[in-house]
């Protein structure tokens, strides 16, 4: 009787131990899969962000083309962007975004860009004057033609492109 009871107890312990073991292995496998999913989601989001920013900065409405020498990626023509601001109503649903903002990284400039303050201004808000909600950003090259004593030259600078996605 005692021997049979011991055998049953032994089997029960073995089953419990096996269940715990496989549960642990299952949990680890699940955790790994979930962390991979999260990483994949983050990578996809980053990729989506870069595609959207690239789409904007390389669209003909903004892109420098070959106006400033070599073809540059992520180069925005400041003059074009300023002209586009005056026609913002035509583009309000064109890119499927709320607003586009270009911020110059020159700390001596503070003004919002308007036809009166251009080009000595810092923030150019294109589709609307409001920036609310979530935005994504990247660095761009912002170029325009300037002149010194009547001699024209290319003035390019690093700037930030912000896209308001909400």
């Amino acid at each position: 009787m005692v021997k049979a009871q011991m055998k049953i107890q032994q089997t029960a312990f073995m089953l419990i131990a096996l269940t715990i073991f496989f549960a642990l292995v299952g949990m680890f496998a699940l955790k790994m899969k979930m962390s991979n999913l999260q990483e994949t989601a983050e990578n996809l989001k980053e990729l989506e962000t870069q595609i959207l920013l690239g789409k904007i900065s390389n669209s003909p409405e903004f892109n420098c083309g070959e106006s400033f020498g070599d073809q540059m990626t992520n180069c925005i023509d400041f003059d074009k962007a300023m002209v586009l601001k005056s026609k913002a109503s035509n583009y309000s649903s064109f890119w499927g975004i709320e607003n586009i903002e270009i911020i110059r990284l020159n700390s001596s400039l503070t003004e919002i860009c308007t036809p009166q303050t251009y080009p000595n201004c810092r923030n150019l808000r294109i589709l609307s004057d409001e920036i609310t909600g979530n935005f994504i950003s990247t660095f761009i090259t912002l170029c325009r033609r300037d002149s010194f004593n009547g001699n024209p030259y290319n003035q390019c600078e690093i700037a930030k492109l912000l896209i308001n996605s909400e």
Partner: protein
């Protein structure tokens, strides 16, 4: 008899524990660590834009055309001048300080913990700017110009 069964159970439990430990170790080792210095599109776009940034250093004695950072770096590597007596390296240092301070906020209270910006000429650092305490989680990018001038930006999160 009872003692034999107890020994059997102890042995079995020991095997289960050992297999579990081996499994955990194997799983943790098989999960690839986040690679250091993964490519960063942000750093790539930053470097691309920095190279084309127009400085106030004239190509000639004064007035336009003005040098871009990639040209000024070349002159700095040759120990040349921006607008004499200001050396190209002094001017480059000042411009890059301004750009980096306005571009990145690094520190323990920010998502970006530190960054390092490097310009190497033939393997030797002509500009080395490092802000914050570096971590093991880094992303970065590099731009190699034809004249043995390399630009590096590493962002530490």
């Amino acid at each position: 008899m009872k003692s034999k069964a107890q020994h059997e159970m102890m042995g079995f439990a020991l095997i289960i524990i050992m297999v579990a430990i081996i499994g955990v170790v194997f799983l943790s080792m098989s999960k690839p660590d986040k690679e250091n210095n993964q490519p960063s599109p942000l750093a790539e776009n930053f470097l691309e834009s920095v190279l084309h940034h127009t400085t106030n250093c004239s190509k000639y004695s004064s007035g336009p055309p003005y040098l871009q950072i990639k040209d000024l770096s070349k002159i700095c590597a040759q120990e040349g001048f921006c607008n004499s007596p200001v050396t190209a390296c002094e001017s480059l240092n000042h411009i890059l300080d301004d750009i980096l301070n306005n571009s990145f906020k690094a520190g323990v209270e920010f998502p970006l913990k530190a960054y390092q910006f490097l310009i190497l000429s033939e393997g030797e650092a002509i500009i080395n700017k490092s802000i914050g305490n570096k971590t093991s989680n880094s992303m970065g990018s590099s731009e190699k110009l034809a004249n043995d001038l390399d630009f590096y930006l590493t962002l530490y999160y």
